[in-house]
Symmetry: C3
Subunit: 359 residues, 3 copies
Amino acid sequence: MTQLSIQTLAMYIGGTIDTADQARLEDSIHGVNKIEDAGEGEVTFLANAKYARFAETTHAACIIVDHDFQPPTGLRSVLIRVAQPQQAFLKLVQYFEARYRTSIQTTSGFRHPTAVVADSARVDATASIGAHVIVSNGCSIGAGAALHSGVVLYDNVSIGEGSVLHANVVCYDGTRIGARCLIHAGTVLGADGFGFAERTDGSFEKIPQIGTVVIEDDVEIGANCTIDRAALGSTVIEQGVKLDNLIHIAHNAVLGEHTAIAAQTGVSGSTRIGKRNRIAGQVGFVGHISTSDNVVVLAQSGVSKSLDNKGVYFGSPAKSHADALKQEAALRQLPQLLKEFRALKTELENLKAQQQSSS
Amino acid sequence: MTQLSIQTLAMYIGGTIDTADQARLEDSIHGVNKIEDAGEGEVTFLANAKYARFAETTHAACIIVDHDFQPPTGLRSVLIRVAQPQQAFLKLVQYFEARYRTSIQTTSGFRHPTAVVADSARVDATASIGAHVIVSNGCSIGAGAALHSGVVLYDNVSIGEGSVLHANVVCYDGTRIGARCLIHAGTVLGADGFGFAERTDGSFEKIPQIGTVVIEDDVEIGANCTIDRAALGSTVIEQGVKLDNLIHIAHNAVLGEHTAIAAQTGVSGSTRIGKRNRIAGQVGFVGHISTSDNVVVLAQSGVSKSLDNKGVYFGSPAKSHADALKQEAALRQLPQLLKEFRALKTELENLKAQQQSSS
Amino acid sequence: MTQLSIQTLAMYIGGTIDTADQARLEDSIHGVNKIEDAGEGEVTFLANAKYARFAETTHAACIIVDHDFQPPTGLRSVLIRVAQPQQAFLKLVQYFEARYRTSIQTTSGFRHPTAVVADSARVDATASIGAHVIVSNGCSIGAGAALHSGVVLYDNVSIGEGSVLHANVVCYDGTRIGARCLIHAGTVLGADGFGFAERTDGSFEKIPQIGTVVIEDDVEIGANCTIDRAALGSTVIEQGVKLDNLIHIAHNAVLGEHTAIAAQTGVSGSTRIGKRNRIAGQVGFVGHISTSDNVVVLAQSGVSKSLDNKGVYFGSPAKSHADALKQEAALRQLPQLLKEFRALKTELENLKAQQQSSS
């Protein structure tokens, strides 16, 4: 476990130590945490007056504060004073994150003896291959790429420079992954698309799915997602796309660059999502539609038609967010409306009766 | 395969055998089943008159019945008479369940030679480690815990006493699992939370996710779930929580003790679910909200605001179940209302016309 | 990589080559593709006049066309003329698909040395077992079946003739899979059903789940699905059923033959889906209901009651599609109705006032 003394840490962020007890300068810090949760050996920060009350109760070994911070009476933590506490803290987060990344990844050039790598695979000397990994015929693994334990690559899979596949990711035949991608554990890329021709008796004949999946550069895909291979051609995840967990992308779908999709959303076959879309969780898209660039779709929406203009959409079926809100508000008034309507009908009947009797 | 003779089984449940054919007392029983499905070698029971007709047709080797049961003419099964057939049967279910557990788990102290266990890992002598399991640096595995084939533990994972991880479960760096937990196959604990800062050009910068996941004691988690690590601090599943399959729990969420959640539900980041909540399937919770203790949320609901009072909620957006039912009932009347409204308008026009002509 | 020369390919589909450059007859073809995407070494086809414009720009090595096709000026591809281009192309798709299947599957009789196969397992001599596969006690694997890398079979699992389990599929104790099934990567069959008895303090006691899962013949199941074992008896997927990805089937559910279900749908406990149902994506079924044969349920529906008649259903809660459309149309008019209703009320008040003043 990488550790820093408080003294070294203060130097690293260019801060001034403020403590009565000089012996503590040698205390070890091994991680970062929120002030309300931080414990021994952890560093935290204070940038928001709302959290100042935690300075008295926190168990953090040290707190990064600004130059004006007034220490409370019961303070136990060492203070490190800097001009901008939040930025200094972020620098530490990245420091410990780098350490964490090193610790979970096999190191550069690592080959675990239990990995099975086909003779015909081209694996860069700086790529690292974890335990029980399978790299099949014709695969190519770029510089600095890392395959964690239990990853299975079928034939002819290519993994770009610096990409990381977490444990038990499966890439079917021909999957292509670009550079600097991060694929989380249990995700399956390139399984057969869901395509069947119905026979007259209602049974099915499989339509061969012989296309592939292309993941461009700088894509992150969450855990236990499924991205199917195309029937013909490619399912494409363009550069910079970010996918959360348990997302389903069907055959021949295309996700435009820098689009982000939250957990449990599904995109049906041949649908094209535009660039920089922001799709919330549990959304569904029917097949063979498209969305414009810069579209926002809110949670649990069901998109049944193409969205040709940028904007915010909501509902099942999805409509403009403004219309959806109007309908929802109207719907809340509907039970009352029904009552009033019945009353009004009676009134009108009375009025008619009166008029007839008076005429 | 563990087996019991009918004679031993009757002794085990304290019952009296009722059969004309004493030779059958030595017949072997190897499992339990429902009376309509039971076959040779299986024991079943009859506690409900509704199922009595199956006594004549069942292929069960023996049936547990009460003292008053009148055997039908065509009965082929041996009868075992007890005071409370259902309770006696449950005792047998637990007996065979224990056998089943033994058969699928590696036995106490087992180490499959293909498992990869880091030197720095502390594995209790009574824990069992299946084939192709990875236990990385700094892990600790408690007494009687069992890791099935293909489980991958990254660095510094701790597994409490008696917990069972089924095949291909993945625990990222630092995941902590308490005692007597049961995690089903393919579940991923501790993958990165979904956190990105948007750049001005619409592309994303990853926010490091360096917190962890804490699973307290007596938690059961279904198959292919994903529970993400916190950005900072911990995602927490409190004691006694039960999760079904394909559930997504985002970074920094907290599930209160003894809460149960059905399949395919998602909980967004930093949301806190109270104690003893009962959440149905395919429900979604937005981020940064909370629910009270003892809340019930019905299937496919979308919870977009905190639920501050216990009670039953339904709908997307979720409202009190009573309100949701009223709206749904009103909605069913809406097409008719529209027709009647148009008729009423016409009537009113007529009335006005009449009034004007008469005045 | 299997390849065909253009000459051989033309013979294979019984076509006539039409090119000015005889040297190209020896060019190698290694795959099929759509005309707009096809590149070097790929064959495509033209059957629809709408796509004829791509003939000029495609990089395909050759195009299958009919006898009347007029080549454009800039054509670079070799033409192969046949009576029915689409059918000839499908024959090639199947040819390359067979090649693809061979390449990703281990070959007949293959045993990877890292596979762990119990002595008591019966594995047909023609079955193939990939790297790091686990086959536990009492399993039986039929002729020609293939288990890809990382598949885990617990005790007493049976796999029928010709069935293929993709990487990291997990089958718990006693799972039975019929002939010619295709199970995609990461799917978990036979995990415990979600069954608990609530104690008076709101905590749970597990109800043992000791039934099993039965998958009949010719079933295809997508990636990362979960099909739970029954509490007692069996969860049954009848012959010919096709399931997409990330589907959840709960304990004791039954899916009738030749039913197809799209991604992310969930079926709750003991629910029986009829034969030849067509269920769209993200649908939910509550427990203990049934559907008739030939039922269609549209996307994101929530089925809360048995559907006793064939037909098309939609909505949450699901109703007949016709009623759902009427309600949706009415709902769109509701905000306007509310306005008009208020206007009408005012008018009626005026009318009453007039009448009173005039009487």
